[in-house]
Each structure stands twice: as C-alpha cells, then as structure tokens.
Symmetry: C2
Subunit: 318 residues, 2 copies
C-alpha cells in the first residue's frame, strides 16, 4: 500500500495558537493505535484500482473522527488510560477534553473537504450519517448501564452503531473515491459492517478470555463494571433461574474481591459455554464477510489486501 | 423577510431513537434566544436579491451550531441556567451534555450540506474555519481565567474569535448563496465582525450596567467571577498603582458580600470612566459597520433590514 498513514498524521501541524486547544489533539493522535479505519479506506481504494494516496485526506479525516470519539468516550466513561498513556481529561482536565474533542470533530470535516469536490456529494452524507450513528451507539451503550433487560438484539444494534458503521464508512469512502459501482459500494459497506460486528465481539471476548501479556491491559474489566457485553447477555439468556440469580448476586456484590469476582463470573461463563457461542458468532460474521467479498466485482488478486487484513483480525489476540 | 426561522427550527423531527440523545437537542433549540445568526443569514441573502427561503438550511445549520457551542460552554462554565431554564448538564447530566452537543455539531453539518451543491465549495470552508475559530475563542477565554496579565488586544482577539466570526460567517453565507460578488462577500464579512465586536462589548457593558428587569438575569456576575471583560481590563489599564491594588483586593476578597463587591467594583469603574470608554468603543465599531455597509454595492433600499437590525442592536438593553 502506497499510503503511509502514520506519516500523514504526523505531518499535520498542531503547533498553532491556542496551544492549550491543539496540543491535546496532537497528543491523542500521536498515541498510535491500529489505524484500522484509514487502512480500510486505503485498501478499498486500491481494491478498485486507484492509488491509496488519492484517499489520504479522507483516511486522515476518519482517523481524526475516530480519535475524537475515543477522547469524548474516555471522558464520559472516566477512563484513566488509553494505549498506556493518561487520557486527555486526566493529563489536562475535563474542559480541555470537551473542547479539544470538539475541535477534532471540526478538523475531521476540514480534512474530508480536501477530497476532490466531485466526490463530496457521495462522501459527505455517508460520513455525516455515520458520525451521527456513532453518537447514537455511544448513547445506547450508556443507556444500557442503567437498563436491566437489554436483549441480544439491542446489543447488536448498539455495536453496529458504535463500532461497525465507521468501518463500513471507511471502506465505502475508499470505494467511492476509486469510482466503484453503486453495487460494489453497497457490498463493501456491508462487508465493513460484518467485519465491524466481528471486531466488537472479539473485543468483548478478549476482555474476559485474553491475557494481560498480549492485550496489555487488565483482564475482566467488563465484568467488574457489569458491562452488558455479548458474553454477559448470552450468559443471562442461557442460564436457568438459579444460575441467573447467582450471576447477578456476584456481579452486584460489593464484598467479593475483584479477582474472585472475575474468576467466578468466568466460571459461570464457562459452564454456559459462552466463549464458544461468542466464537461461533464471530465466525458467522466472518463467513458473511467472505461471501460479500466474493460478490465484489474485481479480480481476485485485487482482494488480497482486504483478505489478509481480515485474516489478521480473525486471529488477533489484542 | 419571508423566512420563518422559528418555524424552520420547530419543524425538525427529534423524536427518534435514542430519545436520550435527541431530546436534549430539541430542548436546547426550543429555548428561543434572539435567533440573531439565522436572521443575519436571511438578511444578507435578501440584501443581494434572493428570497431568504433559499438559505433556510444554512440558517438552521448556523443556529444549531451556535446552540451547540452554548451547550458545551455552559457545561464547561458549569452555568446552572440559560434563558431562564436549567442547562442540559443540570437537567440531565454532563455526559448527556457532551454527547448531545457532539450530535448537534454533526447535525449542523448535515443541514449545511442541504444547500445547493454548487455553493458547497464556498460555504463549507467558511463554516469549518469559523467553527474552529469559535473553539479557539472559547479556549482563549478559558485560558484568561488563570492568566493575570491579559491585554486589551488579547481580549479583542478572543471576542473576535468567540463571538464576531460567527456573525460574520452568517452574513457571508447568506451573501454567497445570493451570488454576491467576492468584494461584497468580503465587505459583509467585515461588517459582521464589526457588529460582533460591538455586540460582545455591549454584553460586557450590560452585565454591569444593565438592570435585572430588562436583562432578566442578575447584574454583576462577571465581577463576581472576576471575568476578564473589557470593563475590568480597561479599569486595570487606566488605574494608578493604588487603585489597581484596591481593585484586585476587592475582586479577590472572599469576605466581602456579593452585593458590596459589585457595588465597590462598579464604583471604581465609574471613577475611571470605564462605561464611557466602553460605549465609545462600541460606537467606534458601529461607525466602522456603517462605513462597510455603505461600500456594499447594492441599492440603499436593499440595506434597510440590516440597518434596522443594527439600530436595534445599538439600543438593546438585553
């Protein structure tokens, strides 16, 4: 791939006044991460035969947007660290996190408007729609915290909005700028949704079944904050009355130590076969992704990069 | 003016899922306010001979953006009320204020993209640039809170960014969509800056020299929170060593009752002729606005609406 996204991001000049507004943005974007979304923009563009340098600005825009959501989400969740560094509201303060985040969202639009004008009418509505959906997903996720009877369907709707649509938007944006047909644009969007659903399910899975060494963060956080993950909802769904009662008692207990709480809930998960069910669900989405990819009307060789990326995501342990 | 902005805003459907995200947006936009910015978009458009209905979406976009900034500013300043209603972070919570605000900023872009495509290339960069500048202005304003030696020039730069550029952007957007010449677009932008500077200076003035009855809020809040207003900075500038010391002592005192603090600081302002200096500064900007208006190349009758609006702003007491 010809596009060096890390370099594109590093080249943005944030040393402008007021430093107190722009420095936290540079800090956020400097923190690395997988750069999965800009990679998807680039891969989709090359799949349809254009150099990925063509989509540099769109890729940067989407990466800035994604980091804006992380910045505000971390503030809303009061997360102390992100990628092993203090979050912006911890390193600076809440107001800085709010305002620098706002500026990032505007900057995302600034970069998006740098794509050739003839693609604006196709790209802007997809981006705006997606951005709203990501907010909706975050809102549903927050609503879940105080909602007792979250269904698996509601969970799927939430992760579709919070995670999957932005991956889909990334692929579609690359395809649009590479002049892909409407049909291929739809197919690659749906492919992004499938990858995104699998991606989020894997995140849920790893939070309980990953290891500290590979994941680089504590295992079991989702259990401790009683997050309505696929694992928990599946467990609650498949448990009999006694097991459900037991699971709820452990989760809500304030006297059980963290380590024991994680061990006991994982034990219940294991008894209910939750890891397996989650893996099957992930495979189901990857299977769907494979079918969608097969339908896209470019030569098989042009699909190598996206296929390699999907294979990497499949086996990721972090 | 043919555009009914109140109706345009009321017609937007916010009853969509998740209600917890969109309800606070409707609440914010329902709170009224002067609707000054959409009015400026409409007036500029009609000045150059097009029906103001043409700019409905642009006007709505800018009003949504403005209300987004109020929503996030109120959270950052922890203001309890806005237009006699509890602010969003008080009525709901901080996270709602953050996320609903984010969604409003995206919605502003959504409405902006509803203007005819042929104007996008002119309108989008002005809006994006302005939106960033408004964030910069808010950041400078927050930086001033802990900065001791704010100069009048720094103050002017801050209010230009925080307040004036959005009025200027409103007028320019209306002019662009009405196919005004580049020269007239520049003139009307600068006219908006002049009006905006006068507007903010008047806000500072009224906070000390207005009345509770007309303003509908307590007088002297700026003094109590030691805000670096034009009045305070002018007083500090023009005071001799003793007066400056005295002023600082009163402002920083934690033992003087609020009413007395306001009375004593106002007394110092009076002795230093601060109200008069502020009024002169306001007049200077309105004088500049008048000159710029005269240069705009449309018939004098076409300037009636903007002239009437300026006259209203000149004598406003709230």
């Amino acid at each position: 791939m010809s596009l060096d996204i890390e370099n594109s991001i590093r080249r943005i000049d944030w040393h402008i006044d007021p430093v107190s507004l722009y420095k936290p943005i540079e800090y956020t974007l400097d923190s690395g991460g997988k750069r999965l979304r800009p990679m998807l923009v680039a891969i989709a563009c090359e799949m349809f035969g254009k150099s990925s340098e063509t989509v540099e600005n769109a890729a940067v825009a989407i990466e800035i947007f994604h980091n804006f959501t992380l910045l505000h989400d971390d503030l809303m969740d009061d997360s102390p660290t992100r990628r092993n560094k203090p979050t912006v509201h911890v390193k600076w303060n809440a107001n800085t996190a709010i305002l620098s985040g706002d500026a990032m969202l505007i900057k995302a639009y600034e970069f998006l408007a740098k794509i050739p004008e003839k693609y604006w009418a196709k790209v802007l509505p997809v981006f705006t729609q997606t951005a709203l959906e990501v907010c909706e997903g975050q809102q549903f996720d927050m609503d879940f915290e105080t909602k007792d009877n979250v269904t698996i369907d509601e969970y799927f709707r939430m992760i579709r909005l919070k995670t999957a649509v932005l991956l889909a938007c990334s692929l579609k944006t690359g395809a649009i700028i590479a002049d892909a047909s409407e049909r291929d644009q739809r197919l690659i969007y749906d492919l992004g949704i499938a990858i995104g659903m699998a991606f989020q399910l894997k995140d849920d899975y790893l939070d309980t079944y990953g290891t500290f060494e590979t994941l680089g963060k504590r295992i079991g956080d989702d259990i401790l904050c009683r997050k309505k993950t696929f694992l928990l909802l599946t467990a609650l769904n498949n448990a009999d009355g006694n097991q459900r009662e037991h699971l709820r008692t452990i989760l809500n207990s304030t006297s059980i130590a963290d380590d024991r709480k994680i061990a006991e809930v994982t034990e219940i998960y294991n008894r209910l076969n939750v890891a397996k069910i989650c893996e099957e669900e992930i495979n189901r989405y990857y299977c769907e992704a494979g079918k969608l990819l097969a339908e896209i009307s470019v030569a098989d060789e042009a699909k190598t990069d996206i296929r390699n990326l999907i294979n990497k995501l499949k086996i990721r342990e972090k």
